[in-house]
């Protein structure tokens, strides 16, 4: 049971953290149509997070709720990929300030949705039938997110000199974080053994093919990646998650007895 809960929290935290990040564009998009598109992506992700947290809460059975899981856990308890908590700009410390960069947003959404179309596809046969149902719904959404982000990745890579430079910089910055996809956490191992989760290592070849194909069409190069492998999914995050959660959780925590 606890293997399933830990695994659900990993999936839910991924969705809520990226949903929170993508919603930061609301009202600030580069063109109205993209404002609407990013809000859609964010809504899908928050919808996924809600279903996953609800299922985790149900299995916990201790009276917890989706909101307690999202708003009253601290950053070291979050199990999302580090990639998803990074701000929408290049490498800077947690308390630095920089303008949001749409290339970073698009490249991240691309790298993540290229993984999730395979993850959700595999989870449609999860031993947890609720998770299997959530996966079927989320697969449709991730397919759209992949479509949207891949289209823009190609436009940026094969657009102007500036957009090419920005897209390449975003790929160089973010690709190393995807190494975390291929390590297997204890929660994932347990979930795979229980027939609930998917062994991500089996998805790597398909992900590589999607990424290589899109980068080639975008006239971008895939950098060599080595060194530190992020460990957000075991609770060791970047400096950025603390700020994201401080903002997201502030109102709920200021009024712990409030009803909304």
């Amino acid at each position: 049971m606890s293997a399933t809960i830990d695994y659900l929290l990993h999936l839910a935290d991924n969705a809520v953290v990226l949903g929170q990040r993508d919603a930061e564009w609301c009202g600030h998009g580069p063109i109205l149509e993209e404002d609407l598109a990013l809000a859609n992506v964010s809504l899908d992700l928050i919808g996924q997070a809600r279903l996953l947290y609800q299922r985790a809460a149900e299995l916990k059975g201790d009276g917890t709720t989706e909101d307690k899981l999202a708003y009253f856990r601290d950053s070291q308890e979050f199990r999302n990929y580090t990639l998803l908590e990074l701000p929408h700009h290049g490498a800077l410390v947690g308390y630095a300030v920089a303008d949001r960069d749409y290339a970073t947003t698009i490249v991240r959404n691309f790298l993540y949705s290229a993984l999730m179309v395979h993850v959700w596809d595999a989870l449609q046969t999860s031993a947890d039938s609720t998770l299997a149902g959530i996966a079927a719904k989320s697969l449709k959404e991730a397919t759209y997110h992949l479509h949207h982000s891949r289209d823009w990745l190609v436009r940026m890579g094969d657009g102007t000199d500036e957009s090419h430079t920005r897209a390449q910089a975003a790929v160089n910055h973010l690709l190393p974080y995807t190494e975390e996809f291929w390590t297997v956490s204890p929660a994932e191992t347990a979930a795979v053994e229980a027939g609930v989760g998917v062994d991500v290592r089996t998805l790597r070849a398909a992900w590589d093919a999607l990424v290589n194909d899109a980068l080639a069409e975008a006239t971008l190069t895939r950098p060599q990646v080595r060194g530190y492998v992020p460990q957000g999914k075991v609770g060791l995050h970047s400096e950025h998650l603390g700020f994201l959660l401080a903002e997201m959780q502030s109102l709920a925590r200021a009024h712990p007895d409030g009803c909304w």
Partner: protein
């Protein structure tokens, strides 16, 4: 949302152009007038007097800009929404406002003015938008109160526009009104839930209503006696009900809702008038309204600068899309050759 005074001129002192058709236009004008008198619709391909076109472009663009600028005060709370359900509702709502902006810019384009031209008007400060968005959203209850009161006021103003004489605008308004009325009920429901919560939550609701109430009354625009453009708008079927009548309708509808909610509307003069069969209400501070319309409210500069920044920062993204589209076209032509 969000009409206020669509009869507020974009530039101070601008007057509605008098309709004086030349002789050769007289027949077209007569046909146009007859269609308006018969409560028919004017469509983009139809002849229309220049002043009608200009007034509509101004009105639709003010409305579109209001939707887009209106995303900012509510967007202020997306990252801090206190539950995932409320976060999703708020994102969807702000997204709807963006969608309204999109249909309205498209409606204005049917009159021969491009979205770029309209945005240029907004960014240069020439074009107006609803003043209500120049006030800050200071606590979470503002999100519910904007839905209940601001969208509520907007609906009063906009439902008559579903019958407006210009076809594309009236059709856009049908969809906009459906969504706004959903937002209005959603906002009210959010406040009802908060009123059943803690004392601090009830205080948030009262505080939000205190700050928004008078601004909402002003949203309907200057009193009829001071609205020189209204009569022409009425004649053309692009304004159906006068500012004061709409304002009264809003007050009459809102007072009972406030009672159910359990909050006090901040107006000591608000009371039922048996003779008029309407609520009387106190004096609106028109000086403050005009100060804000003219750009000197608490958030005008922030709102506008934020729109300008988003547009400028996004230039490279739009350029990339165009450059890519051109390359694709060239490749297709080469292949065809």
């Amino acid at each position: 949302m969000y009409t206020q005074s669509f009869n507020v001129p974009d530039q101070a002192g601008q007057k509605t152009v008098a309709v004086t058709p030349s002789t050769e236009d007289a027949e077209l004008m007569a046909r146009f007038d007859a269609r308006i008198d018969a409560d028919g619709r004017i469509e983009p391909q139809d002849w229309m007097p220049e002043a009608y076109r200009k007034t509509l472009v101004r009105q639709i663009s003010q409305h579109a800009h209001s939707e887009i600028v209106g995303m900012l005060p509510e967007g202020n709370w997306i990252s801090r929404a206190p539950s995932l359900k409320r976060k999703a509702i708020l994102i969807a709502k702000v997204q709807d406002e963006g969608g309204h902006g999109l249909y309205l810019y498209s409606a204005a384009e049917t009159l021969g003015t491009s979205r770029d031209q309209l945005l240029e008007g907004l960014h240069s400060g020439k074009a107006k938008y609803s003043s209500i968005f120049n006030y800050p959203t200071l606590n979470w209850a503002d999100v519910g109160a904007i839905g209940w009161l601001v969208d509520g006021a907007a609906i009063m103003n906009q439902i008559p526009l579903c019958r407006c004489s210009y076809g594309p605008y009236s059709r856009a308004m049908v969809r906009v009104c459906k969504e706004e009325s959903f937002h209005q009920r959603q906002g009210y429901e959010a406040l009802l839930v908060m009123m059943k919560g803690t004392q601090a939550q009830r205080e948030m609701v009262q505080d939000a209503v205190n700050r928004l109430w008078w601004k909402c009354l002003a949203m309907f625009g200057p009193p009829d006696a001071d609205s020189p453009n209204s009569a022409q708008g009425m004649r053309w079927g692009i304004k159906r009900i006068s500012n004061d009548d709409l304002r009264q309708k809003f007050v009459d509808a809102t007072v009972p809702q406030a009672k159910v909610l359990g909050i006090t509307l901040p107006d000591p003069d608000l009371k039922w008038n048996e003779e008029r069969q309407h609520y009387d209400y106190g004096q609106i501070d028109w000086q403050e309204f005009w100060d804000t319309v003219e750009g000197n409210g608490p958030c005008n500069k922030e709102r506008l600068a934020t729109r300008v920044k988003a547009h400028n920062d996004g230039q490279w993204v739009r350029d990339a899309a165009q450059a890519y589209a051109r390359k694709q076209q060239e490749r297709a032509m080469k292949e065809a050759a």
